[in-house]
């Protein structure tokens, strides 16, 4: 469902993107230390899950490229829904599906199973917005893509901690 993987010395599509500063680690509050009080899953917690995903092309994270932002993350813990919008760095970015897939996989692996995870492109920021959104929403195609070992490796690379 996704085009060929990056690498092989092909030139970057967007060789000199804008970079954004990383937000720091979320400080641990006294409430979080308390054994008894529940902490609900909030936007920041979801954002923390996806902000360190590596961009497939740059040695930068999605947060540094501003592909994901905390304001574009919406979670409803009670109704078990998560909606994430991501913004490709350029409107013709061929990696958009791969980036969306990485976000989706990261959230599916990291969130309780009760959650319904929807990942879309920020409206108006990509030439093939509708097609990419439709692919990402099709769980059958996502499942088939993740059985492709090559693609899975690329996704895992995006999700791996940076050396």
């Amino acid at each position: 469902m996704v085009g060929p993987a990056p690498g092989g010395g092909s030139p970057l599509e967007n060789a000199n993107p804008l970079i954004y500063r990383r937000s720091g680690e979320r400080p641990v509050t006294a409430r979080e230390e308390d054994d008894e009080l529940p902490d609900s899953i909030d936007d920041r917690e979801i954002f923390d899950l996806i902000r360190s995903i590596n961009d497939p092309e740059h040695p930068l994270t999605l947060e540094e490229l501003n592909v994901v932002e905390q304001v574009r993350v919406k979670v409803n813990d009670a109704e078990s829904t998560v909606v994430v919008e991501f913004t490709p760095t350029i409107p013709h970015c061929s990696m958009a599906t791969l980036i969306g897939l990485s976000i989706k996989v990261k959230l599916i692996r990291s969130l309780p199973e009760r959650f319904k995870v929807d990942v879309h492109i920020t409206p108006g920021t990509h030439a093939s917005e509708h097609a990419v959104n439709k692919q990402l929403a099709d769980k059958e195609r996502v499942a088939a893509a993740l059985e492709n070992s090559h693609l899975l490796e690329v996704v895992n690379q995006c999700l791996s901690a940076r050396s």
Binding site: K116, A144, E147
Partner: protein, 339 residues
């Protein structure tokens, strides 16, 4: 509406995986399930409970998306993401893979036997629908490759008593095919859904077809033959299909499956919002513009997306369902006294 659907049993059919699809054998005594764990399991009733009679493990390299019983009940076909379709022959409780059908370029999404048992249809992400002919020696031959869809084909199903084939696709349409002079042709395109059509079901007569979609609606289509009493215009010698009812506002996420009970006429849906819903036609509504009422709603039928619903062909009201949580559930449906 309360208590119209009650849980009979729940089984972790494909643990640590998702359960994609279910199929009752024609006698209604066996249920086949398949899933992401690359296995098929066949379930039968023992006493009051359901037990696994066989596990068909060695046929496929990847997810098994759908399974279908032959009309005689002696064969089971399985469609897999590994681009093949396997034909399993049953003898007592044993199943043996007798043929592997190859040809699709990538994931096979669905498989279906024609009522005669001599034809089989498969479809794939490669946008094609293939019709296979079976001879007495269990030899399979591809008789047609239909490239009518412009995208991934999600589902194929045969008419209950004619050699008419229907397919549903990612291109938002449903298409119908029939044989014409030794070849198969697309004879109708049903447009109306606004997103991927995931599944299809004919009613008992074959006059009506239900389709369900990512656009969160179910549509009911009616067949009008040339020269019909209602005066519906047909552009050619082929019957024409019109959408006579749209069930919208009931589902909150993608509808993955629809099943039409051949015994009771009840229509069940499997939805990505974890719910199972059952609809029945209002007795007094007009056949040309029927209205359907929601007669049962089980909000958390499973802990994750419901992928499939299947009515038992012999026992009225017995419904099976399966989900991404890997579980298989059996339900008893009782039509409520007052709708």
């Amino acid at each position: 509406m309360k208590d119209s659907l009650s849980l009979l049993a729940r089984i972790p059919a494909h643990p640590d995986s998702r359960c994609w699809f279910l199929a009752w054998d024609p006698s209604g005594t066996l249920l086949a399930s398949c899933g992401g764990d690359r296995s098929i399991r066949v379930w039968g009733k023992e006493g009051s409970g359901w037990v696994c009679k066989s596990v068909l493990g060695e046929g496929h390299q990847r997810t098994i998306r759908k399974v279908a019983w032959s009309p005689c009940g002696s064969y089971l076909a399985s469609a897999s993401f590994d681009a093949t379709t396997c034909i399993w022959k049953k003898s007592q409780d044993e199943f043996e893979c007798v043929t592997t059908l190859e040809g699709h370029e990538n994931e096979v999404k669905s498989v279906s036997w024609a009522p005669s048992g001599s034809l089989l249809a498969t479809c794939s992400r490669d946008k094609s629908v293939w019709v296979w002919e079976v001879d007495e020696e269990d030899e399979y031959e591809c008789v047609s490759v239909l490239n009518a869809h412009t995208q991934d084909v999600k589902h194929v199903v045969w008419h209950p008593n004619q050699e008419l084939l229907a397919s549903a696709s990612y291109d938002d349409t449903v298409k119908l095919y029939r044989e014409e002079e030794d070849d198969w042709v697309c004879c109708a395109t049903l447009e109306g859904h606004e997103s991927t059509v995931w599944s299809l079901a004919f009613d008992q007569s074959g006059e009506r077809l239900a389709s369900c979609s990512d656009d969160k609606t179910v549509r009911i289509w009616h067949q009008y033959k040339p020269g019909n009493e209602e005066g519906m215009v047909c552009s050619s010698a082929d019957p024409s299909w019109k959408c006579i009812c749209t069930l919208s506002g009931f589902h909150t996420r993608t509808i993955y499956d629809v099943a039409w009970c051949r015994l009771t006429g009840a229509l069940a849906t499997a939805c990505g919002d974890d719910a199972i819903r059952i609809f029945e036609e209002e007795p007094l509504s007009s056949p040309q513009q029927p209205t359907f009422a929601l007669t049962a709603h089980m909000p958390r039928a499973h802990s994750q997306d419901v992928n499939c619903v299947a009515w038992n062909p012999k026992e009225p009201g017995l419904l099976a369902s399966c989900s991404d949580d890997g579980e298989l559930a059996f339900w008893k449906y009782q039509r409520p006294e007052v709708c």
